[in-house]
């Protein structure tokens, strides 16, 4: 059983993936983006260009410390729904994952990085001629 303050790199990565999945399944969430600095994102993009897809790093940031687990994520949201409502759903989803794993929440930092237009084409479909 994990204590909530000690997580191995593999445990953090697994937890990050489960949180990402929970966020993607969340009502109003249309995408999960990389949190972190532009520099680190650029480095990941470079790694991806060299064949290392997604830089082999989780999109969601998870850190474990004395205060518990700190989670940081950036999301895209449905423009028809109030952003703060979607953020609160997302917060609840993260809390649920932490609770299910017996982990103490240290902090949750969620940021809307993109608001999707109300009318969005399916992948592969053009919105306009």
């Amino acid at each position: 059983m994990m204590t909530g303050t000690e997580l191995s790199k593999e445990e953090r990565a697994g937890l990050a993936l489960r949180i990402e999945a929970a966020l993607r399944a969340c009502s109003g969430v249309r995408g999960v983006y990389r949190s972190g600095s532009l520099v680190s994102n650029l480095l990941r993009a470079g790694a991806s260009a060299w064949g290392n897809e997604r830089g082999a790093e989780p999109i969601v940031s998870v850190a474990a410390g004395a205060e518990g687990v700190a989670v940081e994520a950036a999301i895209g949201v449905d423009g028809r729904v109030r952003s703060v409502a979607t953020l609160r759903h997302a917060r609840d989803a993260v809390d649920a994952v932490l609770r299910a794993e017996g982990l103490r929440r240290g902090s949750i930092t969620l940021t809307v990085a993109y608001v999707q237009s109300a009318v969005e084409p399916a992948p592969g479909e053009r919105r306009r001629p």
């Binding site: 990389r34 237009s117 992948p123 479909e125």
Partner: protein, 200 residues
């Protein structure tokens, strides 16, 4: 002295490569041409790219209409406003400041990026026919809850459209979107019509 970056189209738009997570405007244009297939995760997972793709797509839709106008022997299009719009798109791709939402839990920090908000404002052009948003600025301390913020928008409109009515419609649309997606205390929305164009 010559700036060795001046030939870089990305920088001409006031955009650094990091703003599009290493991609270029040209790559995004090609990606749109291909109908966003095959899916490129690095683009689809970048909010800056998504903001730029949305705006480029709207601009591209207008470009088609403009070409139709030209084919019908309309006067040549002034391309300066297109450059201004591209410059605005470039600015939107930058995440900018983090705009907080009120939270009753000190361990939970919820926010929206300034770039996402600028994208929202720009997308309001969809609701007002003939309007194209060039630049959008949020003036004021958006990081401080409750601080007054002024929104300044430069727009291009069609020749012959009623200017005041168009500005009022855009202002109302922007106000609605900001109320729906932010906690900003919007003191004013200043719409400046900086271009009047013939055609589409």
């Amino acid at each position: 002295m010559t700036d060795h970056h001046e030939d870089d189209p990305l920088r001409r738009l006031g955009l650094e490569p990091a703003d599009l997570d290493g991609h270029t405007i040209e790559e995004l244009g090609d990606y749109l041409d291909a109908g966003r297939t095959p899916r490129i995760p690095a683009i689809e997972e970048s909010p800056g790219c998504q903001l730029a793709l949305d705006a480029l797509e709207r601009l591209r839709g207008l470009g088609t209409a403009l070409m139709d106008e030209e084919a019908a022997s309309a006067p040549p299009v002034d391309e300066r406003w297109v450059a201004r719009i591209l410059s605005g798109i470039a600015m939107d791709a930058q995440a900018g400041r983090r705009i907080p939402f009120a939270s009753d839990d000190p361990d939970v920090d919820l926010a929206i990026t300034e770039g996402a908000v600028r994208g929202l404002v720009r997308a309001a052009e969809e609701a007002v026919p003939g309007v194209l948003v060039g630049r959008c600025r949020l003036d004021g301390d958006v990081t401080e809850p409750g601080a007054p913020v002024r929104v300044a928008i430069d727009v291009s409109v069609r020749l012959g459209d009623p200017l005041r009515r168009v500005a009022d419609r855009l202002r109302a649309e922007v106000e609605d979107r900001l109320r729906r997606h932010t906690d900003l205390r919007v003191a004013a929305i200043d719409v400046a019509i900086t271009d009047v164009r013939e055609g589409a």
